[in-house]
Symmetry: C2
Subunit: 346 residues, 2 copies
């Protein structure tokens, strides 16, 4: 949740913590350090040409490099992809892990990791404009960073995600994604894992493999497919044009995915983003990697995938109160529209 200028004027001295909400098994990250961060992107398109801390020439203002990756797409740049610690982290790796339950309230010290992946040296590029070859390096960089974070035994899961555009919560315009390592498994992922485990125990099957088979057979919600991946508008789409990118092969551990599969995922993702642009214009979106958390690696029931949500509207009172979403565009209608656009360009 990005914060406004008004909130920055308050002085904070406390450190980060995770707090459990009253009565529900949902956690919030209280991150006083985040209040001070710059906001280059506001919802009005005024200030996109401000100084950019993520451009290669300004590397001295970001925290030190954690890791870099070369890319044949940017042979002359100092790096193709660069991971740095978030300068305004939600969580830090330094503190000791401690929990403080007291019956009514419960909290955990803010142990975690918060990294930024600068996805290309070029400021103005976007995922849909990048060659799949480069995007596969980005997806591989997520793997490398998760493999490194996995060695910290206090962390139980890592969430990799991308906010593109101010309406999707991005505060800087330079192409980037984020990884947040957590000392717990977040509620939504845990419920999804529980659902997948139950389905597997009841049927002996992976629910996502079943979903892929069903959607490929009926075709109503299938957007496109290639040799190793499919793009589907999910039955219960939360937003218009929500799209899931799923590897055809059953794997729960994202780190076990071979580079050839990441390349197929990258190809289909850039195509979907291009179809979205033609259907919706330049749309803000969130993209989230769903995969097995560290302490469940080896479990047979889950299937990693990407969930992509165009952000054309606002989350409102009904959604906050119910955790339900109102979506005016059934997934069959969205998928048909995108298939039609894909046919026209074929």
């Amino acid at each position: 949740m990005a914060n406004s200028v008004a909130e920055r004027s308050l002085s904070h001295n406390s450190s980060s913590s995770l707090r459990k909400r009253l009565l529900v098994d949902e956690w919030v990250v209280i991150a006083p350090d985040r209040a001070a961060r710059p906001r280059q992107l506001e919802l009005s398109p005024s200030s996109s040409d401000d100084f950019c801390p993520f451009c290669p020439d300004n590397a001295q203002v970001t925290p030190p490099t954690i890791e870099t990756w070369d890319s044949p797409v940017f042979p002359d740049a100092p790096w193709g992809v660069r991971a740095v610690a978030n300068k305004f982290p939600a969580l830090r790796v330094e503190p000791e892990l401690s929990t403080e339950p007291d019956g009514l309230y419960e909290s955990i010290s803010g142990v975690g990791a918060h990294e930024v992946l600068i996805e290309a040296p070029e400021h103005h590029t976007r995922w849909r404009a990048l060659p799949a070859e480069h995007l596969a390096i980005v997806l591989g960089a997520w793997q490398d960073r998760m493999a490194d974070l996995r060695r910290d035994k206090r962390l139980r899961s890592v969430l990799a995600f991308k906010n593109h555009g101010a309406r999707a919560g991005a505060t800087l315009g330079h192409i980037h994604s984020q990884l947040i390592g957590l000392p717990l498994v977040p509620t939504r992922l845990r419920r999804e894992l529980d659902g997948a485990r139950d389905y597997f125990q009841n049927t002996g099957l992976c629910a996502i493999c079943e979903m892929i088979a069903r959607e490929r057979s009926t075709g109503d919600r299938l957007i496109l497919e290639n040799e190793a991946a499919v793009a589907i508008a999910p039955f219960g789409s939360r937003t218009a044009f929500e799209t899931w990118i799923l590897p055809r092969s059953h794997r729960g551990d994202y780190l076990s995915s071979p580079r050839s599969e990441l390349l197929s995922i990258a190809e289909i993702t850039t195509t979907v983003l291009d179809l979205w642009r033609r259907a919706l214009g330049e749309v803000a979106y969130n993209l989230i990697l769903h995969c097995l958390p560290f302490d469940l690696l080896g479990e047979p029931y889950y299937h990693w995938h990407l969930e992509m949500l165009p952000r054309t509207g606002q989350v409102a009172g009904f959604e906050w109160g119910s955790n339900m979403y109102i979506n005016a565009t059934p997934s069959e209608v969205a998928a048909r529209h995108l298939r039609k656009l894909a046919d026209h360009s074929a």
Copy 2:
């Protein structure tokens, strides 16, 4: 979730339905009728002087009046508060209720009610500018509409909420709130009810009564109080300055709350909104009524209240993926700041 102009160009013929998301016990409302609605408020402040369907002179363009309430604050207007059916409903009362589970996917026909409460005849007023006397009539109108909807045995719960400002999902500028009646109890409310029931079974106490007692005793997160209500920044605040308004008396059924209590609630709510304005400027917000659903009326463990969330930031990829929220302002800091502002005006 509000939808963009781009989505309206798609033709829809299907009717509303509730669909369960894959693997998680979370539902979405697929509401094709919503795609056609007007959007007066965009995130740029351009079009706020458009034709307003909620002003008394334009009553002929809204669906027929369901109910009206007089108010001494607007003695010359045709009504003080007016309930109409939503012209672009998420759900309708007409269809037969039917469920369609098939193992992988599950859906319910879109039975429900979607009403708009036009909270005052005056276009430009806001909750904080209205006398508490009038706001208590609005809170009473919620009771009256819920009492009426309760007679439809297909409905299991009603969510009453308010979206103020474009960033909070409002699409029209005229002061209004909404009621959505549902054939199920929404996930978040059900989890909260389960948590309250478990706490009650373990301790014999209401968790919210306990929270009020604790916050009044320590004072750290207490914002203000009057004879019948308290305003508290909750321990696990999801956004900066999140505020809960709680009646001091233990009641789960919102309809059993007497008018004197609603007046105290109205007074404290307008004061909080005024403090928010002084702390945050003209801020968008969501306000949500939490109360016992129809089929749990009489249960002893719940305590109705209002949850208010200033919307200074965007819900982003981390929140979508985890159902966790990152908040840079601890509730103790927010409460202290608001108390200080309240002291200055005392």
